[in-house]
């Protein structure tokens, strides 16, 4: 097939060169974006089915949880069942839930006796802050480690960076959390051991150690991808051409190596978002943070299914949306992908 695609691509290229210049917002481009958004909606719909109906597979009955500790009369059971809409057929329960979810109403939490949106709303800022701080850390440390290693490839600094990253990657986040607490909070007393603080500044201060603990594994991932992507680009002929034209090394690296290496880095970053949200459960537990992660663990434990469903949908949505954004920025990173030409 290689030969055919070559034959074809030569013809297509000539046709493209002859055709008048197409804008970024060509018909094909609009179709692409529309297709992506459609796919996004479909993914979310399928995820909602899975998330909602998985409750029926889990052992345990929400009603008995609600009436726990009491000896319920059949009337009381019937009343609670009706109150929570659990007497309806499953598909109707699903439609009710979906209708609510679309307007931000995920029902009532069984353990807190509050709206799910309120319960989550209280905890979301901590998790978001944690994820954002971690993300910044990952971007700065991961990218610089990767860039430094790539620019010194084969030299001691490269090897040192790689060994360092490998060692870090072997540290699970709960171990990392404990070590960080032991050293910086207990021994040195620089940071608090527990809680998420009051107000913005205090919250940032409280979240320094947790965000480091959360970032460790992902720094390694981003660092390694950055390094290999940069090394690949450094070997490209267009980099030598740019050098031969008298551009400064820093300019060549920035405009031709790093810029071209961005594609794989962005792809990994998309996957990373879901990973961060999931891994935050462990870190939040270790640092006693009242965030979404610890709430999820708690709610699963207590069969508080409206909260579990809402959180899982939230994570899925975040993941799908971020990846759709990454996909949509691809033509901007690599103009060839918009034209459907084979990447080289």
């Amino acid at each position: 097939m290689a030969l055919d695609s070559r034959t074809v691509s030569v013809a297509a290229r000539e046709a493209a060169a002859e055709a008048p210049r197409r804008g970024r917002w060509s018909a094909a481009g609009v179709r692409r974006v529309a297709g992506k958004l459609g796919g996004l909606a479909l993914t979310l719909f399928l995820a909602s089915l899975l998330v909602f109906f998985s409750r029926f597979l889990v052992p345990g009955d929400p009603v008995s949880f609600l009436l726990r500790g009491r000896k319920p009369s059949p009337e009381a059971i019937a009343q609670v069942t009706a109150q929570y809409g659990l007497d309806l057929p499953p598909w109707q329960q699903y439609l009710n839930w979906l209708g609510g979810a679309l307007t931000g109403d995920f029902g009532r939490s069984l353990q807190y006796r509050q709206d799910v949106s309120t319960v989550i709303g209280e905890r979301l800022p901590v998790t978001l802050m944690l994820v954002v701080m971690s993300g910044i850390l990952i971007a700065i440390v991961g990218l610089s480690a990767g860039v430094v290693a790539a620019l010194n490839r084969g030299r001691p600094l490269d090897r040192l960076t790689l060994v360092g990253l490998t060692v870090l990657s072997a540290i699970p986040s709960f171990v990392g959390s404990i070590v960080l607490i032991a050293i910086f909070a207990v021994q040195l007393g620089w940071f608090p051991t527990f809680g998420s603080g009051q107000g913005f500044g205090d919250m940032v201060y409280h979240l320094v150690l947790p965000s480091i603990a959360l970032a460790i594994v992902f720094v390694v991932l981003v660092g390694k991808v950055t390094r290999s992507s940069m090394v690949e680009q450094l070997g490209r002929e267009h980099v030598e051409v740019a050098t031969s034209r008298g551009l400064k090394r820093a300019t060549v690296i920035r405009r031709h190596v790093f810029r071209n290496a961005l594609g794989p880095i962005l792809t990994v970053s998309g996957v990373l978002v879901a990973g961060l949200l999931v891994a935050s459960t462990i870190v939040e537990a270790a640092f006693g943070l009242a965030g979404i992660g610890s709430l999820l663990v708690q709610s699963v434990d207590r069969l508080d299914f409206p909260v579990v469903q809402a959180i899982v949908m939230l994570v899925v949505t975040a993941f799908v949306v971020v990846n759709a954004i990454v996909d949509l920025t691809e033509p901007w990173i690599d103009p060839r992908s918009a034209a459907g030409a084979s990447a080289r």
């Binding site: 030969l3 055919d4 070559r6 034959t7 074809v8 030569v10 013809a11 297509a12 290229r13 000539e14 046709a15 493209a16 060169a17 008048p20 210049r21 094909a28 490209r236 002929e237 267009h238 030598e240 051409v241 740019a242 050098t243 031969s244 034209r245 008298g246 551009l247 400064k248 300019t251 405009r255 031709h256 810029r259 071209n260 990173i333 690599d334 103009p335 060839r336 034209a339 459907g340 030409a341 080289r344």
Partner: protein, 536 residues
């Protein structure tokens, strides 16, 4: 006369002590074109790169390289940048790899103007558009915002040339600038280069492996081999009366299209009364692609090769010659038409294992790139034995003996039986590929650009081998190539393909001597000829 470039006793050693250049000396005067010719690994590219300070990391340099009166070796980084910006510029081999695919053509052209010369965006743009017009691109204004993938190879190479000219260099270094291009495109690019050289009075250092091209373009040539200069001097003198042995061998190995005396010309030999070995009738293939117009790769192809004959298929990239070959071998299914090999219908997809094996036994293919067509894990001997045991049902001992015979037949020996492809040279690999194809004694051998990736001296060996095998075994050969000289050397008859259609066919000598179709004439005229012959 002051020299623009003066290289004297240049040596280059890698950090592990490997010596790649041994005392290279050459010079280029303003307005002069000097050719640097040699085969792969001769160090010609490395020599040229040294001029711009583009040397492998941690390598040690010796000797002198003076560019525009300034020493390059050991110069501080600032001076090197200045030389790259003002004294010399370089055009690289593959424009598709050499221009950043993620930035626009305009960005490529204005980058140095804006970042090194401090020109404003408008000034740089005006200059870039002027240069695009200089290299004869049709719509400069429009090209400015286009991306490389929207261009054909020839157009991109013009962009590369325009990019090199942004700095108004005194010396233009061209590193195989037309090797990745079709012959007609090569002719256009060479025309552009010659015109710019005259107009700007630039000196040119032109690196190529193609002696004909060097002869058509250069005032003087330097012949290199294994990091040494073998010979240098006036181009006409070097090519017509070479002094060094190496030059002489190189010239002999280079296929030419110059037509020899006509009396000895053997038209297809009438001594083959049996029916044709290969018969292709109305073969047609279209590729349907989503969202694009269909591509008609092969249109109603008709051809015939007599038993023991050889036919060349000539065409440029995208002409459908490879698709034709793949249909004949059975790697692709034609939409219409038939292929008969030794009288048997071969155009339908083989259904059973037996049919598949019978098909493979009647026709074998040698592919373009021997680096890709041999499995890197399988030693040469076993690659051949596997085929023998699959088709011949030989036992291990017999297969091994036969594999050795085959290796010997292609000029290799016992020590190559256990050799893995990576320890073999390109020529040796292609011999193994040929031995493997011949192992089952196919009725027809299809060679798809089988010598294009090889150096001329190695190519000559492989072509001699094919000629010898044809004489000994009466092998029938279908030879696909873009190179008219090579086809002439191997094939009595040839067909010329363009955009899927066979536009002309006939005896190869006749096609070269008196091409009838305008496209054939264009192909023949595009092949570079020594400047002294063209003038005569």
């Amino acid at each position: 006369m002051s020299r623009l470039l003066d290289i004297d006793g240049l040596t280059l050693e890698l950090h592990d002590g490997t010596r790649l250049l041994e005392g290279i000396s050459l010079s280029v005067a303003p307005g002069e074109t000097v050719g640097l010719v040699g085969e792969s690994g001769s160090g010609k590219s490395l020599t040229a790169r040294t001029v711009l300070g583009l040397v492998p990391e941690r390598s040690r340099l010796g000797g002198r390289v003076r560019l525009d009166g300034r020493e390059v070796i050991g110069a501080p980084a600032r001076d090197i940048l200045d030389l790259r910006r003002h004294a010399a510029a370089m055009i690289f081999q593959d424009p598709r790899a050499g221009i950043n695919p993620m930035r626009t053509i305009g960005d490529h052209l204005t980058e140095t103007l804006r970042r090194c010369e401090g020109k404003s965006a408008a000034e740089a743009r005006a200059r870039a558009i002027e240069l695009l017009a200089d290299v004869q691109l049709p719509r400069p204004e429009e090209h400015f915002g286009q991306y490389p993938h929207e261009f054909s190879g020839g157009m991109l190479q013009r962009v590369m040339i325009a990019g090199a000219l942004t700095s108004s260099p005194k010396l233009l270094i061209c590193d195989e600038p037309t090797t990745a291009l079709d012959v007609t495109t090569q002719a256009e690019i060479v025309r552009v280069l010659v015109e710019l050289r005259e107009r700007r009075g630039m000196g040119m250092l032109f690196i190529t492996h193609d002696l004909n091209l060097a002869a058509s373009l250069c005032d003087r040539v330097v012949v290199m081999s294994r990091g040494r200069v073998e010979e240098s001097g006036d181009a006409r003198r070097v090519f017509t009366a070479p002094e060094a042995d190496y030059t002489r061998r190189l010239i002999e190995a280079t296929p030419s299209i110059a037509v020899r005396s006509l009396d000895g010309e053997a038209e297809a030999d009438a001594s083959a009364p049996a029916g044709p070995m290969l018969e292709v009738r109305g073969l047609d293939k279209q590729y349907q692609l989503r969202g694009r117009p269909p591509v008609h790769a092969v249109v109603e192809a008709e051809l015939e090769i007599p038993r023991g004959g050889s036919l060349g298929v000539v065409g440029e990239s995208g002409s459908g010659k490879s698709t034709l070959a793949r249909m004949i071998v059975g790697l692709e299914q034609p939409d219409r038409g038939e292929v008969r090999i030794a009288g048997r219908e071969r155009s339908t997809a083989p259904r059973s294992r037996a049919e598949r094996i019978a098909h493979a036994k009647s026709v074998q293919m040698v592919f373009q790139d021997p680096y890709l067509s041999l499995d890197p894990r399988i030693p040469a001997g076993r690659a051949i034995q596997d085929v023998l045991r699959l088709h011949g049902g030989l036992d291990r001992v017999a297969a091994e003996a036969r594999a050795l015979e085959l290796l010997e037949a292609v000029g290799l020996g016992e020590r190559h039986l256990a050799a893995r492809p990576k320890t073999l040279s390109g020529g040796q690999r292609q011999r193994v590929a040929i031995a493997r194809a011949l192992a089952i004694e196919p009725e027809l051998l299809v060679m798809d650009e089988a010598t294009s990736a090889l150096d001329v001296s190695v190519q000559a060996q492989v072509l001699d081998l094919v000629a010898q095998l044809r004489a000994q075994r009466g092998l029938t050969v279908l030879f696909i190539s873009h190179d008219l000289g090579v086809v002439r050397r191997v094939c009595e008859r040839a067909v010329v393909m363009r955009r899927g259609e066979i536009v002309e066919q006939g005896p190869s000598e006749r096609l070269l001597r008196e091409p009838e179709h305008p496209y054939t004439r264009l192909l023949v005229d595009s092949v570079p000829r020594p400047s002294w012959e063209a003038a005569a």
